[in-house]
Amino acid sequence: MSTWTKITPLEDIPKLGSRVVRSSKGDIAVFRTADDKVFALHDKCPHKGGPLSQGIVYGDKVACPLHSWKIHLADGNAEEPDEGHTACFAVKVEDGTVYLEL
């Protein structure tokens, strides 16, 4: 059964940045966009496994730090023409705290 797990205050994730959550399901990158939307992806680029959490966030995308693949935060899909997918996790913000469904 999956449960909502408390992660961190939203303010501890920089805008246009991320934090890494180490879980039983592997490392999960939790991103915060400029307009305070929060997304969570498996911290592994579909290309060569680069840590997406370390990339540059812009709009609703992140550029992988290794070879600059662009990954959509909302669905984990690589931006065309690249093809690939990274698992997404449900994430929510309540009273300024970020929760992850694990």
Partner: protein, 813 residues
Amino acid sequence: MQKMKLVVVGNGMAGMRVVEELLKIAPDLYDITVFGDEPYPNYNRIMLSPVLAGEQTIDDIILNSREWYAENNIILHTGKYINKIDRKNRVVYSADGTSAEYDRLLLATGSKPFMLPVPGADLQGVIGFRDIKDVDIMIDTAGKHPKAVVIGAGLLGLEAANGLKIQGMDVTVVHRNDWLLERQLDRTAGKMLQKSLEEKELKFILRQETQEIVGENGRVTALRLKDGTELEADLVVMAIGIRPNFALAESAGIHCDRGIVVNDTMQTYDPRVYAVGECVAHRGISYGLVAPLFEMAKVCATHLANFGIGLYKGSVTSTKLKVTGIDLFSAGDFASGEGAADDGREEIVLHDAVGGVYKKLVIKDDKIIGSVLYGDTTDGAWYFQMLRDGKLIHEIRDNLMFGQDSLGNTGHQGQDKAAAMTNEMEVCGCNGVCKGTIVKAIKEQGLFTIDDVKKQTKAGSSCGSCTGLVEQILASTLGGGYAAPSSSKAVCGCTDKNHEEVRQLIRDHKYLNIPDAMSGMAWRTPNGCATCRPALNYYLLSTWPHEAVDDPQSRFINERVHANIQKDGTYSVIPRMYGGVTTPDQLRKIADVADKYAVPMVKVTGGQRIDLLGVKKEDLIDMWADLDMPSGYAYGKSIRTVKTCVGSEFCRFGTQNSTQLGIDIEKAFDHMWAPHKVKFAVSACPRNCAESGIKDVGIIGVDSGWEMYVGGNGGIKTEVAHFLCKVKNAEEVLEYSGAFIQIYREEARYLDRTVHWIERVGMEYVKQRVLEDAEGRKAAYERLIYALQGSVDPWAERVQKRNEHKQFEIIAV
């Protein structure tokens, strides 16, 4: 909200390019309806010649399938000819009565082949060479009849003649001028071309005009020339030029003057009506090549999207003949001899009649203004780039004619021989892309620009050293269809402004943070992208030191965490060892740290220091605390190392104390950010053991002082540094090198190494700023010292203020 209605008249390459660009930037603004009078979806008109020559099929050259229109909710009417625009009620009507209302109208009606007004021009079997229908007729006629005459030996005419010959016809080309392709070639090259084509059994009749086309039962049988000669002909192809097709616009009362007149935003005199492509007259010029059309399309799309940015200012074009086996390239203004304006132009010519090679460069005011290449077009793209950039050539003039290879680029770029490459040969060493893959992608996916090719094939998308080669492959695959990037490239897709414009605006408006800069400069995206943000951040910091706000999230990860990310997501830690000099104490500390954190690899770097590889991010701060050494900045667009040789303290040849000077420089410029990495070296004698010749700033000690060299590079593009000057003492070395670096910091484009920057501005400029202008030099040096004042070691700062750097901590659940 109700969407606006956009109607596009003309389903060709220009109109559809606008639609594609528009969908990229404003996908939900319009309901789009497209009318085309041909029965096909948008196809690649410039590839009709290969279709006629049997090298490709119609299916190969379709650019947008009917499914594409459906997927993008575009209503497509094919085979419908719009013959009326009601501007008052904003409706267009087609000949069959179909109508469509518009809020904005885009006219992309293209051009028509010019048909000679001679008797018999309306006979069956007399055609132009413009669309699929013409190609069908040619192929069909070739199957049934033996003789063809092509009127006009321009690009299209020759391509038609070549195709008809391959289809099995006996082809004669009639041309009014003295030589072939008189608009693209000078006489010498034109004659060489004629000889090669005659070897392919094409026949030419020059200096002759058509009197009449003769027929029987309504079908062409012969062509009579003005001197009375009669040529048997079952097919006559008129290829004497195109005329912008503006009848529709004119009938609607839109101002036309040999084309639909548009301003720099591609707007006609009716503000609701835009026009692009071959049908327009922009600043009095109509273009018949695809590259300018695409530039127009991009500008037009930004205005249709209501961004109100981007201006089209005209194009310089280059051409290439798409006849397999013949290499020909021309660009710019290359007229010479009779007819050429006597305005101080100079020519450099290389002519090997036996070898079939002819090259001519036309030079004026130290810049290339035109070029004709025949037989060896390898350097066409290079010359064209310099022509567009207005590059000063006097420094390379001696070698110019022998091509880019002769300039001593011994690095990866040396192999610029696109034409000579086989399909299996690797073009992009970083991503393992071979020539065949690129050619296939260009043809099958309809690519036109370097950016398209980079995106689709990855070639040239990593280190970029093969970009020139990719450009050549693109040019030779597309011929005249190649859309060369304009010389002042936009920073990225988020803006139309180029690097220089962005820097100027940051200075003029004193932007101090990224959000202000983006809104002030009308960025298209809310927070930029991974390309423009790091550039903006650097420009702000370098323009307004101590005032601009550094945005860590706009820096690449290495500069955010002050360590270098590795393929497995671990980091490397390289502490500074000033001048490459270390102590037993430092080495002991490094050894202890390597043990404590079980560092998987300890390596000596090329920059004379020690690299600890495979460090976990969460260990970085602890490790820095234990090391208690400053950051070596081995990860940044910043000062890296100052490499030194042993020098006069121990070396029996050394004339100067190179280690001490290296230490002094590295300390003076510590923590310095730059457009790209900056490497120094100091050698104590001309034996040059510190390899000063391939550094951004290389210093070589001689008995009477120090020689300084700049702009060297040992990386992607091996480049020997240029001699700058000789100075007397260490203080002068600091001042001169500091001034040089500061001007580079203030004026280069982000990600330009000093070699690239100098290539653009020229060594003369650098010498003028650093040597001749003594006050300017001192001021620049002082600006650098001011920018670096009070800078702190980033590792120590993070050790002290751990709590402000939460990103190094992992959240465990």
